[in-house]
């Protein structure tokens, strides 16, 4: 059931994201920047809130007048800031909901990613609480409605000795002290929200906290335009002797409020409780079956830290050397954070495909899919291409559109698992005429940084580099989502045609026997302290 919902949602996101990829480019696509935009809107809300506080009178008698004054008499700065404050808050809700749905759709919430998902749940509560307390401060008819419904909801809980809602049913019952409490909450809760957002990204390596400048600039411009075109205004002074019969509701922050009339307060609490518990438990329903975590082979690790640098999950850290070798540090894997994506294998300088040792070892490896097995699979798959018109070997990410291709495919947990030397081996030894590296869609890399690292390695900007001798016209990267299989086939066919037109590669030396027919023994640790 969960799988079906996820699949439908994923198709929905693909349907929205791929056209946006074409319009914005993968780097600027707003759907791929939801978290960063969320942070950006938070800062807009914070700065505009501080600005508004200069003009705001926190006394209950003067609050409404002060908001009206800044909206009407100072519309060109304070009024615009009010709209910024309001709409950026609403946009935070949009970012939050879309971010949550997208992470669910792309299965980015189970396994080691449980932490970010789980810590995201309080963010929902804190964001809504921040917004709801903000609506009270305007002290207009909407504020009265929000105050009444919120207090009736809270009164349903057997916590308060006296119904809070009594304060909002007749004039003279509400004091400025209560109003000051709301002002305090509207300042304090967003600070807790910021703390929760910080905790939320603690386990993420290189989290995107700022959107690209061009996107940020367009966002600000659009906010200014909307703030002038449709400024946030109040809905008339509160009159506690009158019921707030009809209000212009903020459907982004207050969609549950009408449900209190339809379902009753108890049912709304039951819904909220069930929703929160369900969200919190989702990373374990059903649990993700994980491959074994990466393992470090100290005999082949020189403590270069490239694996720690490249790991998208902060699962590797460098610690003091423990085996007596003359290197100062060694890599250490935290199995609870490792998703076995293999990016560390691709970054390790020991993962040199040309090495001839019979029992091929690398400094960090996946027990369930070793680098030796990857090299063997590459050779076997390349051999299976004999007789094909154009021999194109495909290294395909299992989450991308190339994984379903029928012939000549080496499936991988992530394309960044391929050390560039393996591509060099394939082309220099004429195992294939061309190599296609097929990953996820560019703005939706399953392992976050796999595409970026692969491109940087191929461009010679990141260790380990793809050597300059590798003919780039025989190498193609294809970034397509799992649903874009026809686009993958189209790009692959076009690449094959281009490769066919390239003059023959000069004769290469034959593949060494140890590589061509290497056995695939179970990984064995070399004695500690031994030198490769």
């Amino acid at each position: 059931m969960i799988g079906v919902i996820r699949s439908v949602l994923r198709r929905g996101f693909e349907w929205i994201e791929r056209p946006l990829d074409r319009l914005f480019g993968p780097a600027l696509n707003p759907v791929a920047q939801l978290g960063a935009l969320g942070f950006f809107f938070y800062w807009i809300v914070a700065v505009s809130g501080i600005y508004l506080f200069i003009f705001f009178d926190t006394g209950i008698e003067r609050a409404y007048e002060s908001v009206e004054n800044l909206t009407n008499n100072h519309w060109y700065h304070a009024g615009v800031m009010r709209s910024f404050h309001r709409y950026a808050s609403d946009l935070m809700v949009v970012m939050l909901v879309t971010h949550l749905l997208r992470e669910f759709a792309y299965d980015h919430y189970r396994g080691t990613r449980w932490f970010s998902w789980f810590t995201g749940v309080p963010i929902i509560w804190l964001l809504y609480t921040s917004g709801i307390t903000g609506y009270w401060l305007v002290w207009d008819k909407l504020a009265q409605y929000v105050a009444l419904v919120t207090s009736e909801l809270l009164d349903w809980l057997p916590i308060f000795g006296e119904p809070i809602a009594r304060n909002f049913v007749s004039t003279g019952t509400l004091t400025s002290r209560f109003f000051s409490l709301m002002v305090f909450m509207h300042v304090a809760v967003p600070l807790f929200l910021l703390s929760a957002m910080w905790i939320h990204i603690l386990h993420i390596s290189r989290p995107k906290m700022n959107p690209p400048r061009t996107l940020a600039a367009m966002t600000l411009l659009a906010l200014i335009a909307v703030s002038i075109w449709n400024p946030a205004v109040s809905q008339g002074h509160v009159d506690l002797a009158k019921a707030p019969v009809a209000v212009g509701l903020d459907w982004l922050f207050l969609p549950l409020y009408p449900l209190t009339d339809l379902w009753g307060n108890g049912a709304v609490w039951a819904f909220l409780g069930a929703f929160t518990v369900m969200l919190g438990l989702m990373p374990w329903l059903p649990p993700l079956r994980r491959a074994k975590a990466a393992e470090v082979d100290l005999a082949h690790c020189n403590g270069c830290a490239r694996c720690a640098e490249d790991c998208p999950y902060e699962a590797i850290r460098m610690v003091r050397r423990s085996d007596g070798l003359h290197f100062p540090t060694e890599a250490q894997v935290n199995p609870s954070l490792c998703v076995s994506c293999g990016i560390c294998v691709g970054s390790c300088p020991s993962s040199t495909a040309f090495r001839r040792s019979q029992e091929f070892k690398t400094g960090i490896d996946l027990p369930d899919f070793s680098f030796q097995r990857l090299r063997e699979l590459t050779v076997e798959t390349a051999e299976s291409l004999h007789g094909e018109k154009e021999r194109i070997l495909v290294f395909a990410c299992e989450h991308g559109g190339g994984a379903g291709h029928l012939t000549g495919v080496v499936p991988l947990p992530c394309v960044a698992m391929i050390p560039p030397s393996l591509i060099d081996l394939v082309l220099s030894k004429k195992l294939a005429d061309g190599v296609a590296v097929a990953g996820c869609a560019e703005s939706a890399c399953f392992n976050r940084l796999g595409i970026a690292w692969t491109e940087q390695r191929f461009a010679g900007e990141r260790d380990p580099y793809l050597r300059t001798r590798v003919p780039r016209n025989r190498l193609k990267t294809i970034w397509v989502s799992a649903l874009e299989t026809s686009r993958f086939e189209h790009e692959l066919a076009a690449f094959a045609e281009r490769v066919a037109a390239i003059p023959e590669i000069p004769s290469a030396l034959p593949l060494p026997q140890t590589i061509a027919s290497a056995p695939s023994p179970e990984p064995k640790r070399m004695p500690e302290g031994s030198v490769p």
Binding site: L28, L142, G161, R166, M218, A243, V245, A246, L249, W251
Partner: protein
């Protein structure tokens, strides 16, 4: 030129999204109660009598108590529930036993009930029992009131004077 067009297209998409968000920030209008209605709110906080009367302890009972606990009168903390009824136009719309609050059941009873009624003239009657009696009522008030549309009419109880207040 293509670059400018593309950037314009990107801006238009963002602008459309933000415009939609700003529209849903106060539209469509939500009507909580039907047109031409008023709201009657029954709400009060009041403590009923204790469950039992205070009793004088015997000298033997007092002697058994710790020195700092030796009081002549034994007054149980728990309060009785309050029984309340509200009639509108000779029709009962609410009746309930309101239990005391607090873990020991010694707090005040509380009520907050909202009733949406068409605007118009009504006879409103409210009755309450907060003593051990089982028949009749300790406090009651009956009055004919005219409720105008959107009015919030509150039926409250003042413990200090022991009377219902209509406002």
């Amino acid at each position: 030129m293509t670059g400018y067009l593309r950037r314009t297209g990107q801006f238009v998409v963002i602008l459309l999204l933000f415009s939609a968000v700003s529209a849903f920030a106060n539209w469509p209008i939500y009507r909580q109660i039907p047109e031409g209605s008023a709201v009657v709110v029954l709400t009060f906080v009041h403590g009923a009598d204790r469950k039992a009367e205070c009793r004088t302890r015997s000298p033997e009972e007092i002697a058994k108590l710790a020195p700092n606990m030796r009081r002549v009168l034994d007054c149980p903390r728990g309060r009785r529930p309050i029984y309340v009824e509200l009639d509108l136009a000779d029709k009962n719309i609410f009746r309930a036993y309101l239990p005391p609050t607090g873990i020991a059941g010694d707090g005040h009873s509380r009520v907050y009930q909202r009733f949406v009624v068409p605007a118009g003239q009504y006879e409103i009657a409210v009755r309450m029992r907060d003593t051990p009696r089982t028949e009749g009522f300790d406090h009651e008030r009956k009055e004919t009131v005219t409720l105008v549309r959107e009015q919030m009419f509150v039926v409250d109880f003042r413990s200090e004077s022991g009377e219902f207040v209509f406002r």
